[in-house]
């Protein structure tokens, strides 16, 4: 997959926007292709559902909004509920499997990738803060949308100073899963 419309959603504070920034920056700067990112704004951006729309292409992007998502990455049940209908047939659903139960609204031919990312980072690093990087790692491994080195470089220039190593390690944790069937408790 080289072109994609991606919806990322979750609760404010879960790193939804950071995930969009890392992906968009990896594509635009470190692969020198084109990407746009639009984030939800307003009072809803903290503590309740927020979302990022990331578009990726080989050419400049005219319409920066998701109309039919090719990839839907969900960090919370409320976010899943709000945006699942946007996911197109044949798309990819990547979700935090300890926090979300997918339902029958998932369209046909969708690849479902459940990742217990919070548990994984807690076990590995003793904190749940960087679980979004595990999710990005899984997205990159599953779709090949952008190269892992480009994302690693993007993480270095996007995350707060002092957290780079841990964020990169969390990304690697997700990336190394490779196949969804190796995910513990995944579907």
């Amino acid at each position: 997959m080289r072109d994609a419309s991606i919806r990322i959603c979750g609760m404010g504070g879960q790193g939804v926007i950071m995930s969009g920034l890392v992906l968009g920056r990896a594509v635009s700067i470190y692969e020198d292709r084109w990407s746009t990112m639009i984030q939800s704004f307003g009072p809803e951006a903290r503590g309740s559902t927020c979302s990022a729309q990331v578009l990726v292409a080989d050419v400049p992007i005219a319409f920066p909004y998701v109309r039919r998502a090719d990839i839907f990455m969900a960090f919370s049940q409320a976010g899943y509920d709000r945006y699942i209908d946007e996911l197109g047939e044949g798309g990819v659903l990547i979700y935090e499997s300890d926090l979300i139960v997918p339902d029958r609204r998932v369209p046909d031919q969708v690849r479902r990738i459940g990742v217990p990312a919070s548990r994984m980072v807690r076990d590995a690093f003793g904190t749940a803060v960087m679980f979004n990087m595990v999710m990005i790692g899984q997205l990159v491994a599953a779709t090949g949308l952008v190269s892992a080195p480009a994302v690693q470089q993007s993480i270095v220039t996007s995350v707060p100073e002092g957290t780079t190593e841990m964020n990169c390690a969390a990304f690697d944790l997700g990336f190394q899963l490779r196949r969804p069937d190796r995910v513990p408790d995944g579907q």
Binding site: G24, I29, S35, F41, I61, A62, F63, P64, Y65
Partner: protein
């Protein structure tokens, strides 16, 4: 005050239009901003409040938009380049000082990241409803320039043009962004200083006895000075003579106001910027600006792929309006559609310029969201039916 390469973040970035606007202002030499932060423009002043201390600039947070829009004009007369930044409700409050800047010929840049109104409206949602207010919002006759960026990259590049125009024409220049370009992240390339064209202020070299701040020596724009540099300055919003002293005669009014309008409106060809493609011999041309122009481009590509001869014109400058260019477009097509995030503003200007040569149709909404390309495609098919 630091200038040159040391202050620029040259290279490729993934940033939003607001940050790009702030970096562009720095590249243009802006070193003073007074503002009253307001959604969706806040990131511009937030970014500058961090960047300015590093490079000898100053951001002052004022008590409201009235003070924000006049404070920086004082800084401009003290010799720096300055601007203020706002959105809808703040823009309304700034109208009086746009008029003051026009009357006192203060090189001034006003950034308006448009959100949906009227009044406080939808603070976090886009619109293009302030384009007529930009032109006519302050009382009296005067000339202004307004530019409209369609991408984060243009937020960077065109704010530099705004500062250049402000120095060249000594008038208010309005940078009409919208919430979508302001908050949208995209690739932004910041060139090196040698590749950026910056117009510096034309400061008079005349002796104090031979200088008057509003005397036109050459062209139709007077030379400026710097307050405290030795020249006598008097400034007033009243009709004034070339020394800046009030002159309450109709003769003074006639000559001053005609010059304030003429120094912009007589230079439409030098100021106006637009991009057009596939116009010649087309059946329909979509005219748009800002983020709506991106939508228009998407729609035009879609119908062209289906064999429809559609063209596109993107207005980069909104004011002054290039009547002649628009009229020439009308002569090259059969229908014109104007796409904008309002219920009909620039479409009136296009209709006026087209003078009935071809039908002019409007596609718009009440703001709050960008118009889907499908609506434009549908309209193109409808007018050609």
């Amino acid at each position: 005050m630091l200038r040159g390469e040391t202050v620029l973040r040259s290279g490729k970035h993934f940033m939003d239009g607001n940050e790009a606007c702030a970096e562009g202002a720095i590249a243009a030499g802006c070193r003073f901003v007074s503002g009253y932060p307001i959604t969706p423009s806040t990131e511009i002043v937030e970014h500058l409040s961090r960047r300015f201390p590093e490079i000898g600039g100053m951001f002052l947070q004022m008590e409201d938009e009235l003070s924000a829009s006049i404070c920086f004009q004082g800084a401009v007369w003290a010799g720096v380049k300055g601007m203020t930044v706002t959105s809808g409700p703040g823009f309304s409050l700034m109208m009086e000082h746009i008029g003051f800047a026009a009357m006192t010929e203060t090189p001034s840049v006003f950034v308006n990241v448009q959100r949906a109104g009227p009044s406080t409206g939808l603070p976090t949602a886009p619109a293009q409803q302030d384009v007529m207010q930009a032109r006519w919002g302050s009382h009296g006759d005067y000339g202004i320039i307004a530019l409209s960026p369609a991408s984060p990259q243009e937020c960077h590049d065109l704010i530099i043009t705004c500062f250049n125009y402000a120095e060249t024409y000594r008038c208010p220049v309005l940078f009409m962004m919208d919430e979508t370009v302001g908050h949208m992240h995209g690739k932004v390339t910041i060139p090196s200083m040698e590749d950026i064209h910056v117009v510096e202020r034309r400061i008079s070299t005349r002796s104090p006895s031979d200088y008057a701040p509003f005397r036109v020596v050459e062209g139709d724009v007077p030379e400026m000075t710097r307050a405290g540099a030795g020249h006598r300055i008097h400034m007033t919003g009243l009709t004034h003579d070339e020394r800046g002293y009030p002159d309450m005669t109709t003769a003074a009014q006639e000559s001053l106001v005609r010059r304030l309008c003429g120094k912009v409106n007589n230079h439409v060809k030098e100021i106006s910027m637009m991009e057009s493609r596939h116009v010649e011999g087309s059946d329909v041309v979509v005219i748009s600006y800002g983020i709506s122009a991106q939508i228009a481009g998407h729609a035009v590509d879609a119908v062209r792929a289906a064999g429809i001869r559609a063209g596109q014109v993107r207005l980069i400058s909104l004011w002054p309006f290039d009547d002649e260019a628009i009229r020439n477009i009308a002569r090259s097509t059969r229908h014109i559609i104007v796409l904008e995030m309002n219920l009909g503003q620039m479409v009136r200007e296009v209709e006026r310029a087209v003078r009935g040569i071809v039908p002019v149709h409007a596609v718009g909404n009440a703001g709050g969201r960008v118009i889907a390309p499908d609506c434009v495609v549908e309209k193109i098919r409808e007018v050609l039916r």
